[in-house]
């Protein structure tokens, strides 16, 4: 019972973080038609940002709040320098962001060396939950992720900006004709999406070892999540992330972590093959 509770809590944690990563990726993909292969690297930058900020003496939670902003700023610069020059060339966005990923990874190798670092977890202890101790920090991570996801939804469905963004997702040219400044929206979208990845990285930082390759393992699961869930909706990636993250942590818990990735990726490939439009899809005209 106690073990099952821990497994469920850990799975929820993994799912929520993956949701955060996939959401950022899906917003960039949906709004800008940019496939961001460097998304995992923005997550990795979030880890380094939190490490650097706590090193200069900021309290952990302030660092956690500031890191996404730093990563979003880097995203803004990347958008201005690289991404906007590849618009309307979908395959070239894969290539350009692939190069960007290489540059960001190697920049971290040059600055911090290839070795790994650790961020001391904030001293919040653990509480008794379902008859066993559970680290409070993991609960905080879940809360932050959930809060951010709800906040993103509120933003998309409750504000004028969100309305404009959804209009661009639905029909970019028509939205531009109606006077929506798509250029400014693109800039903000990319910054916001990379900020979400940065937040995920910052929140995960005390639980993983930080090295320049920390983001590598995230890109494929995040992309599979949004393809499984389906593009063109904001809820699709969340469903996909729940499936991918849930299956991953359950296989890891009941079988072995070695086979988890195998099982999950194979299952995701099958689902994408059978439902090319994703599980949550809205009928769209063929582009």
């Amino acid at each position: 019972m106690e073990q099952i509770a821990t497994v469920i809590l850990d799975s929820t944690n993994a799912i929520l973080v993956l949701m955060l990563v996939s959401l950022g990726l899906a917003i960039i993909f949906g709004l800008m038609n940019v496939i961001n292969m460097a998304h995992g690297e923005f997550l990795m930058l979030g880890c380094y940002a939190v490490m650097e900020l706590t090193k200069i003496g900021l309290p952990f939670f302030l660092a956690l709040a500031l890191s996404p902003l730093i990563v979003a700023a880097i995203g803004l610069i990347a958008e201005e320098l690289v991404i906007r020059r590849t618009y309307h060339r979908l395959i070239d966005t894969i290539l350009a962001t692939w190069g960007l990923a290489l540059v960001l990874r190697q920049a971290m190798v040059l600055i911090y060396g290839p070795g790994s670092y650790a961020v001391p977890p904030p001293n919040v202890g653990s509480i008794m939950l379902f008859g066993g101790p559970y680290p409070v920090y993991r609960l905080i991570v879940m809360g932050v992720s959930l809060g951010t996801i709800i906040g993103t939804f509120a933003f998309f469905f409750g504000t004028r900006w969100g309305l404009a963004a959804r209009a661009v997702i639905a029909n970019r040219d028509m939205a531009a004709c109606l006077g929506i400044n798509t250029r400014r929206l693109d800039r903000l979208t990319f910054a916001f999406g990379s900020g979400l990845a940065g937040l995920a990285g910052a929140a995960m930082a005390p639980m993983i070892s930080i090295d320049p390759n920390a983001g590598l393992g995230w890109v494929v699961p995040a992309f599979l999540s949004i393809l499984v869930g389906g593009l063109g909706t904001v809820s699709g990636p969340l469903v996909g992330a729940a499936g991918v993250g849930g299956l991953d942590s359950l296989t890891a818990a009941f079988s072995s972590p070695v086979w988890a990735q195998l099982v999950v990726f194979s299952a995701a490939i099958l689902v994408i093959r059978v439902f090319p439009n994703g599980l949550v899809s809205r009928r769209r005209r063929e582009a």
Partner: protein, 340 residues
């Protein structure tokens, strides 16, 4: 006189250059080039699939790796039930057949049925598949797990692993150059064949091509198979020189590398992709000594620049430039129309 394509002119120039190269460089440089030519074959396989058939594979190292492992298993005498067979030739055959069949299966899975995978979706799924197969290789005790298979024998001319071993670097150099040349000639022939033209039609507009009676799924599966088999050949030729097959030959890293070579060289021509692979590997070897860890940073930045500024690739732009130059000269030398 038959008009020669600009890419062939570049190709002939490169061929003359590489034929003469061993005469002027020390033999260890020639040995490096033997490996670069194999990478060039690998790049050709991806350029055909991506540039000519429009199918982006982000996990193409899978087929390279399968070829490398097949060759290693055969020449190390590890073939289940056939420990006496150690022939390099059978290894080559096994590598090509095995990677080709895998590619055929994968291609059928991707392109068969009513709603085939395409574009970016195809890319991401192939990437995920490469990660899966890399995992399988790492967890396979038969294939040596994480360590891979070591001390793979070099290229042996005898029929069953006996006879003359080719270890002289100059001979390997010319042997690999010959393989590369054969592959390029073959692929240029395929591209201009009926199959290649139908494939180009499907790439350009699938709906139109299939309305005109082309079986798009079958064409794409055949292209995928051919490309996979070539990548397998490259893997087999790599491992006889390198002597070592490891899971890193299958997965993410090499798939990313070959993508960069092909995109940097130019994906629209077989020749430019091959030259891209050779040039990037050569510069990497030279510059990583001089600038060390900054090399990937430099490569990444240059790659981004190339995607933005010359999307046809460095050698692709060169071919386009030769085209414009020749076009201009022809226009100038055209006889004036007779005055009326």
């Amino acid at each position: 006189m038959m008009k020669l394509a600009s890419s062939s002119i570049l190709g002939f120039a490169a061929l003359v250059f590489f034929c003469l190269l061993p005469a002027v460089v020390p033999s260890w440089v020639a040995a490096d080039f033997g490996v670069y030519f194999v990478y060039a074959i690998f790049a050709v396989s991806l350029a055909f699939l991506w540039g000519h058939a429009g199918l982006l594979s982000l996990g193409h190292a899978v087929y390279f790796g399968i070829g490398a492992y097949a060759m290693s298993v055969v020449t190390l005498g590890m073939t289940p039930g056939l420990p006496d067979v150690q022939s390099t030739w059978i290894g080559l055959l096994a590598a090509v057949v095995l990677s080709g069949c895998t590619a055929a299966l994968v291609g059928t899975f991707f392109f068969g049925g009513r709603r085939p995978l395409k574009g970016a979706f195809l890319g991401i799924v192939t990437l995920a598949m490469a990660v899966v197969i890399e995992r399988l290789a790492i967890n396979s005790p038969f294939l040596g797990g994480m360590n891979g298979l070591m001390s793979v024998p070099p290229f042996v001319l005898g029929l069953n692993g006996d006879g003359l071993e080719i270890i002289d670097t100059t001979v390997i150099y010319y042997l690999m150059l010959a393989f590369l040349l054969a592959v390029i000639v073959l692929m240029l022939h395929v591209e201009t064949s009926r199959f290649g033209k139908s494939l180009a039609a499907v790439c350009e507009n699938e709906l139109r091509a299939s309305t005109l009676g082309h079986d798009a799924a079958r064409l794409k599966i055949r292209a995928f198979t051919l490309s996979g088999a070539l990548a397998g050949l490259a893997g087999a030729l790599f491992v006889v020189q390198f002597g070592f097959a490891s899971p890193s030959l299958i997965g993410f890293a090499l798939s990313a590398d070959v993508l960069i070579w092909v995109a940097l060289g130019g994906r629209n021509h077989i020749i430019s992709a091959a030259l891209g692979a050779i040039a990037v590997r050569f510069l990497e070897n030279r510059l990583s000594g001089a600038i060390g860890a900054a090399w990937p940073l430099f490569l990444g930045a240059f790659f981004i620049l190339s995607v933005i500024l010359f999307p046809k690739g460095v050698f692709g732009e060169a071919i386009a430039w030769i085209d414009t130059f020749r076009e201009g000269r022809r226009v100038r030398s055209r006889p004036k129309p007779p005055a009326t």
